[in-house]
């Protein structure tokens, strides 16, 4: 299934986890639990040592994953080991993409990702201006390249991004870094309005925490929701409390259901 197909039936629920957090095995179980809970696509974080776009929750997940030995190669093995049907998006920073293989730009990384079954990329430190080489490699191997539209993105920048984006567009609900919040930002509707005529699905992320949030976002017109920190929090708490993998996985699955349900409710409200 392609990424845009994942959004075609109903509002999509797109969870994020850092791959390998807190261990390779547990993380496989967690990602699979999310799929069971109704994920339509999954963003898998490949951890980078300088995650400038992340808030504290995901930063800590990245540290746990790195300390457990995660590398780009292990990441691909992780993807290959996963037993899920939904499309997988690799979320990472550009230096890892750039360094992979013989150093010949992003192509080796994309080739390897395609082979492992990755459907697309989100690279938070790669604005459209710098995305040419990666876009070309993605085209060559048939992968999508997702861009983030920020509340501050306007005019020409939107046009350039529209040209490059595929799979879905990641609408950043508010300024700042990733992290769960109690309030849903007003920026969302405005942002969605600005890109109303884009053909790719519009997924909103940053700060979504509950089914209720999800519902409101979807009723505001989003084609899907992206949820990271609220899920990573569950992983972190389980890790801190030394709970067994199955317990944490169940909790993730339940949270996934709540969020997916919220999204569906939101969609019904719109109709």
């Amino acid at each position: 299934m392609s990424l845009s197909e994942a959004f075609s039936r109903e509002p999509a629920f797109v969870p994020y986890l850092a791959a390998g957090d807190p261990s390779f095995e547990a993380s496989l179980a967690y990602v699979e639990a999310l799929a069971r809970g109704g994920a339509d696509a999954i963003e898998l974080g490949l951890p980078f040592s300088e995650p400038i776009a992340e808030g504290p929750t995901i930063q800590e997940a990245i540290v746990r994953s790195l300390e457990a030995g995660m590398t780009p190669e292990r990441f691909f093995e992780f993807v290959e080991a996963l037993d899920v049907e939904v499309p997988l998006v690799c979320m990472t920073y550009y230096n890892l993409v750039y360094q992979y293989g013989d150093g010949d730009g992003p192509r080796p990384f994309v080739q390897r990702a395609a082979a492992a079954g990755i459907a697309g990329f989100v690279i938070p430190d790669l604005p459209a201006e710098e995305a040419g080489p990666l876009r070309r490699a993605c085209d060559e191997f048939g992968l999508d390249l997702v861009f983030i539209v920020a509340p501050t993105t306007r005019g020409e920048r939107l046009e350039r991004m529209q040209e490059y984006v595929s799979g879905y567009v990641y609408v950043q609900a508010r300024l700042g870094t990733t992290g769960a919040r109690d309030e849903v930002s007003d920026h969302t509707e405005e942002s969605l309005a600005r890109i109303a005529d884009w053909e790719v699905p519009k997924a909103v992320g940053f700060g979504i925490k509950t089914g209720d949030h999800a519902q409101r976002i979807v009723s505001a017109g989003a084609d899907g929701i992206i949820v990271g920190s609220a899920l990573v929090d569950i992983v972190a708490q389980g890790h801190a409390a030394d709970e067994d993998t199955a317990t944490v996985a169940d909790r993730l699955e339940a949270k996934a259901r709540e969020l997916k349900e919220g999204a569906l409710t939101g969609a019904r409200a719109v109709q």
Binding site: S49, Y94, N95, Q99, P124, L126, T153, R154
Partner: protein, 414 residues
């Protein structure tokens, strides 16, 4: 491919949320800094003179000249307000933020030099200011924390990672991503996304503008070689800029630390020699030479000098090194410590430990640098006294003065 590049280096690798600010900044840079719109550059020059103390002198170092049989001249950035070249940039950027209508300043700091310079500039221009600093650095750079607080700046502790400069930069970028609409991020060296590397260089280029005129006036010709230490490379680019077109050898002296080798497993490079040993990569918004492991994870750098202790370097400098226009060289911790003492004892100028690296290279290569050598004294060493004392004692360096006096007076331990 981005046009904001120095050869293969440079670019704007930042989160989308920041891009509009970066574009706004690029526009402001072009108009105010490059074209002196609204008299920005005039005001900058007047303030860096009256508030900052420019021009800084060019001094003939008599004892060093005699020691090396070479005319050695010092460009005295240590005399700039705050004690280092840093204010050129901090004042320029805070002023620019004012022209841009921003009403809040943030900055990262490692050793605290850029943080104190920014806090001073912000107080001077009546701008609220917050400085991000790693908690490890806060612990070991108390006096600079006092100075920032005394100038009215907030200091925010960064607790991620090892709690040093690299983490502080990342954290400041996060703040900026949140507050970009009213906030300007005053980055501390010629690093980061375009236009920072060019803009920071332009503010510091006063160094070489003056030094070039001063050498011609005082000596009647241009130097054969120009030396500057290089961490991020801001004093370096500032010192080199106006000599780029001249027949003058340029040496960027990096921190060789304790060794040029790296420990992949621990993720540590016990040096900060990114120009000499780093690989092309993307860090903190630009493509440049970076200390990284084979996967592309950034290494923890190390140098006895906190201000050089950074895994990246300015993209323009990386480019000039690749082009062969600038020589990337390095000296180790011991050579820098010895040079610190040498300059202090022979010339009555206590240099910053960063600066001492350039003098370490001068000592090593005294015979090959020509007849007229210019060294940038990027800062003063008051901030480093405790560190030097400790590091010198550990290594039992014979050039270092003893501190028996404290034992004498205290009748006990130091």
């Amino acid at each position: 491919m981005s046009t904001n590049s120095f050869g293969e280096y440079g670019g704007q690798y930042v989160p989308e949320a920041l891009m509009p600010a970066i574009e706004e900044l690029t526009d402001a840079y072009e108009r105010y800094v490059r074209e002196n719109e609204a008299g920005f550059i005039d005001e900058f020059r007047q303030r860096i003179r009256d508030f900052g103390g420019r021009p800084t002198p060019l001094e003939r170092a008599e004892q060093l000249s005699q020691r090396y049989g070479t005319d050695v001249y010092l460009k005295r950035e240590d005399l700039l307000h705050g004690g280092a070249h840093k204010l050129n940039n901090a004042l320029g950027q805070v002023l620019l933020a004012k022209y841009m209508g921003k009403d809040r300043i943030i900055a990262e700091t490692g050793a605290g030099q850029h943080g104190t310079a920014t806090a001073m500039a912000a107080a001077h221009l009546d701008m609220p200011c917050e400085i991000y600093m790693g908690k490890t650095d806060i612990g070991r750079q108390r006096p600079n924390v006092f100075r920032m607080r005394t100038n009215g700046a907030e200091v925010n502790a960064v607790t991620t990672g090892r709690g040093t400069l690299k983490e502080a930069i990342s954290e400041t970028m996060r703040d900026w991503a949140r507050t970009v609409e009213n906030t300007h991020y005053v980055i501390g060296s010629v690093v980061g996304p375009h236009p920072f590397p060019s803009m920071v260089r332009d503010f510091h280029a006063l160094i070489s503008e003056e030094a070039r005129d001063q050498t011609r006036e005082q000596v009647g010709r241009l130097p054969d070689a120009v030396l500057a230490c290089a961490g991020g490379g801001s004093n370096t680019m500032g010192t080199f800029h106006h000599f780029l077109e001249d027949d003058v050898d340029l040496y960027a002296v990096e921190a060789g630390g304790s060794s040029l080798s790296v420990d992949e497993a621990a993720g540590v490079a016990p040096n900060s020699a990114s120009l000499s040993t780093g690989e092309e990569g993307v860090l903190h918004g630009s493509r440049t030479k970076v200390l990284q492991d084979s996967h592309g994870q950034i290494m923890e750098s190390h140098s006895v000098s906190a201000g050089l202790d950074y895994a990246g370097v300015g993209p323009e400098l990386a480019h000039l090194v690749d082009e062969g226009r600038v020589q990337a060289v390095n000296v180790d911790d011991v050579a820098a410590l010895e040079a610190f003492h040498r300059l202090s004892q022979l010339e009555g100028v206590i240099p910053a430990l960063e600066t001492a690296h350039a003098f370490g290279y001068l000592e090593q290569e005294q015979d090959t640098l020509g007849d007229l050598v210019l060294v940038n004294v990027s800062g003063r060493g008051d901030k480093d006294l405790e560190t030097v004392l400790e590091e010198t004692r550990e290594r039992d360096l014979s050039i270092a003065p003893d501190m028996e006096i404290f034992r004498e007076v205290a009748g006990g331990s130091l």
